[in-house]
């Protein structure tokens, strides 16, 4: 694998961004989509080539230095890429799912006036995301980390004529900044502790520390704050549901499949550090479980099709962190992969529904779409089945693997996890039934306009549906007589961590019968809640009440997302605003007093002096002669 080819992987989307971003007013619309999509497809093909070359060369991690970037004192930060199991998996997910979503966007965004801008931003996002996963040190990762945040901001506020959307974009950006501060502090602590930010160097030096060293705990905790922001965990999760203001393909690509998994990537990348800090992992696990349960419960009563999916994303990310907390790094990565497939599919399916419904997003106005949108329905159904953790689709394998590891680690978290998956199954099937079953509840015009989406939208749906269905095959547990290809593939990543904390990597103590039991419990629980949803929303055909109707206190609490947004608003936003208003009026008064005073003084002096500028040449010459005479006398006589 030649390094130049590797460099092209992030470079192609950047070129696509430059071409589309600089020239989208001149390039015809049909070409914009092709350029944007080809850039990503090219990256995908190159990623596949890299993957093959990596396997052929005996799975040796490869560092590709590009140039020396920052050299200050003894600290040297090169700009280099690292190719190993983890970055390759992320590369394939990002470029693969990214390509499909680009193709989908050609159809979905067709009528939008900002078509070229959209593709430019998407390409820029992919560039930064690829930088994030390819970088061989924390600083390059941080560039990508900030860059995807920027693109997320740009794309959430894509329809920037709507103030609410702009506010959502700002909220996402500011919340991410809170996390980014933690991430930065983590990097600084790494620099002071290890004197380097290169992964390999940091991890080899980290092995000299003992388990539970306070410095390592501080580093991992800081980094995790960054992950909380980017991956929408309690308490920094509220931006993600609002981020649904962006176009649906953006929600699928950035806010479900790729960017929000950056936090998980970062933790797996730093597995050596985290394995050395069991107390941080404990926090990670608890926060993950809490988020999984909390977000799932909010999802139960939401009526906006994208909001449900957004809370489901937050909840699934919670599962991944729960897995990380139990040091089940491979299982979390497995869930990242399957989640990328089925959640991208769900969002794209939702996009297809919204497209057909003329931009209606409220599931109370949908219903019976099964016959009008057959492809969307079948693919959405597969994705729902997968996310609910029902066999034999991919979600079952990844979620059960996480739950099995969590069970080994902490029984209470496991109970929370199963409870969360019951809710997941319920709200997903509720969404499915309300959207596709029953009778149509929208307006007559909408019904008249209903149509299946064009091929550029349905083909990505079908491909993702196939992947969601069979994606679990890469990690079939031993108990089901399969082999866990993914875990084997990723195993070399943990070599260093295994040395520093061997206890964490002992083979599972669960017997096969215990594993069967765990699987049985979670599948049965998910199936029962699916059936409950079926009874409620298909047999009884009940529809969620309109907003005007009175609800019970608990329903109100959940429907209004536990008033967390209002809480943050009162605790953080409003005091900050009051304070800045106070500072502003202070500035208005005192600073203006000085600034304006100085300006007035100067103007007064100038009004005296400018009288000398008569405009008559004779006067100027006279002044000059006078000046010369004065200088002569001064020099000669004094």
């Amino acid at each position: 694998m030649s390094p130049s080819l590797l460099v092209l992987i992030p470079l192609l989307p950047l070129i696509g961004f430059l071409v589309n971003g600089l020239g989208f007013t001149r390039i015809p619309k049909s070409l914009v989509g092709i350029i944007g999509t080809l850039a990503v497809l090219g990256s995908f093909v190159l990623s596949l080539l890299t993957f093959n070359a990596f396997l052929a060369s005996g799975s040796q991690p490869l560092i590709v230095p590009l140039f020396d970037w920052i050299t200050v004192g003894s600290l040297n930060i090169p700009f280099s890429f690292q190719v190993d199991q983890l970055s390759l998996l992320m590369l394939l997910i990002i470029t693969g799912v990214g390509s499909l979503i680009h193709i989908y966007s050609i159809g979905y965004m067709h009528h939008d006036p900002g078509f070229g801008k959209f593709f430019a931003y998407l390409n820029l996002f992919l560039f930064f995301m690829l930088l994030l996963v390819l970088g061989s040190n924390y600083v390059v990762m941080f560039i990508g980390w900030e860059g995807v945040g920027l693109c997320s901001y740009l794309l959430i506020g894509f329809w920037n004529k709507n103030t609410n959307y702009n506010n959502a974009a700002r909220k996402a950006f500011i919340m991410n900044r809170v996390g980014d501060l933690g991430f930065l502090l983590g990097i600084f602590t790494i620099i002071t502790t290890f004197g380097s930010v290169e992964y390999l160097e940091v991890f080899s030096k980290a092995s000299e520390f003992s388990i539970g060293d306070p410095v390592i705990i501080a580093i991992t905790a800081f980094l995790f704050i960054g992950a909380m922001g980017k991956s929408a965990q309690i308490p920094l999760y509220t931006w993600l549901p609002d981020a649904m203001a962006g176009p649906t393909p953006v929600s699928a690509l950035i806010h479900a499949a790729t960017m929000v998994t950056a936090g998980i990537y970062m933790v797996i990348r730093s597995n050596v550090l985290y394995s050395l800090a069991p107390s941080t992992l404990e926090i990670v696990g608890i926060i993950g479980a809490a988020t999984a349960l909390f977000a799932a419960s909010i999802g139960l009563l939401q009526n906006d099709i994208k909001k449900v999916l957004a809370y489901s994303t937050v909840s699934q990310l919670g599962y991944m962190f729960m897995g990380l907390g139990a040091m089940a790094y491979s299982a979390s990565m497995f869930h990242v992969i399957t989640h990328a497939f089925f959640k991208a599919l769900l969002f794209l399916g939702a996009g297809s529904v919204i497209h057909a419904m003329s931009d209606e997003q409220d599931i109370r106005s949908m219903g019976g779409l099964r016959k009008k949108l057959p492809v969307t329905f079948i693919t959405f159904f597969i994705a729902t089945w997968a996310i609910s953790g029902l066999p034999p689709f991919s979600g079952f394998f990844s979620k059960d693997e996480i739950l099995a590891h969590v069970f080994e680690h902490n029984k209470l978290l496991w109970v929370i996890g199963v409870f969360g998956s019951v809710m997941t199954s319920f709200y997903m099937f509720r969404l499915l039934f309300l959207t596709f079953f029953g009778t149509f509840r929208g307006t007559h015009e909408q019904e008249h306009h209903l149509h299946e989406s064009p091929a550029s939208m349905t083909i990505p749906l079908i491909i993702l549906a196939v992947l969601s269905a069979v994606g679990g095959a890469i990690g079939v547990p031993e108990a089901l007589h399969g082999s866990h290809h993914l875990a084997e593939f990723m195993s070399p990543l943990y070599d260093a961590a295994r040395q520093v904390n061997p206890a964490a990597f002992l083979p599972t103590t669960l017997s096969h019968s215990e594993e069967y039991l765990l699987m049985g419990i979670s599948v049965a629980a998910a199936a029962i809640s699916a059936i409950v949803a079926y009874v409620m929303y298909v047999q009884k055909a009940s529809v969620p009440a309109p907003d005007s109707e009175e609800k019970s206190a608990l329903q109100n609490l959940i429907y209004n997302k536990y008033y967390v947004d209002e809480l943050y608003d009162n605790v953080f936003v409003k005091p900050t605003k009051t304070l800045s208003n106070a500072f502003y009026s202070f500035g208005e008064f005192f600073v203006d007093l000085f600034v304006n005073g100085a300006a007035r003084l100067i103007r007064f002096l100038a009004s005296l002096l400018r009288k000398t500028q008569t405009g008559s040449t004779g006067d100027y010459v006279f002044a000059m002669v006078l000046g010369i005479v004065v200088i002569l006398f001064w020099k000669l006589l004094l």
Binding site: K611, Q613, G615, S616, T617, G618, V621, F622, V625
Partner: protein, 117 residues
């Protein structure tokens, strides 16, 4: 040979010493003052320009006079330089005056009073 009170050590040829140095000084001072008065009192740009040249040449005359009385050729070299530069300056200055004339139809500097407060 008349002894030179200002430069006792230097032998200055008689031809030159026929006219004392003081005369040159007086002449060039007069020329210079005429130039200054011309610049200050006249409004015609061309006359002002000529007065400036007068001042320039007064200085040249002084340089040459001293150069001769000191038997030091450096002053004369200097004068050649000044003449070359003055020629260039005349070219530019006259061009500016021509442009002024084309724009205002006269060469009165009193008309050019736009640059005031």
């Amino acid at each position: 040979m008349i002894p030179n009170p200002m430069l006792p050590d230097v032998n200055v040829p008689d031809v030159i010493q026929n006219i004392p140095l003081l005369h040159y000084l007086v002449l060039s001072t007069l020329l210079f003052v005429i130039g200054i008065i011309g610049v200050l009192t006249r409004r015609n740009a061309i006359v002002i320009f000529m007065s400036v040249e007068l001042m320039l040449n007064a200085a040249n005359l002084l340089l040459i006079a001293f150069s001769s009385y000191r038997s030091d050729p450096a002053g004369q070299v200097f004068v050649f330089f000044i003449m070359a530069v003055a020629a260039a300056e005349v070219a530019v200055g006259l061009a500016i005056i021509v442009m002024i004339y084309r724009n205002t139809r006269n060469t009165d500097v009193g008309f050019l009073n736009k640059l005031k407060w």
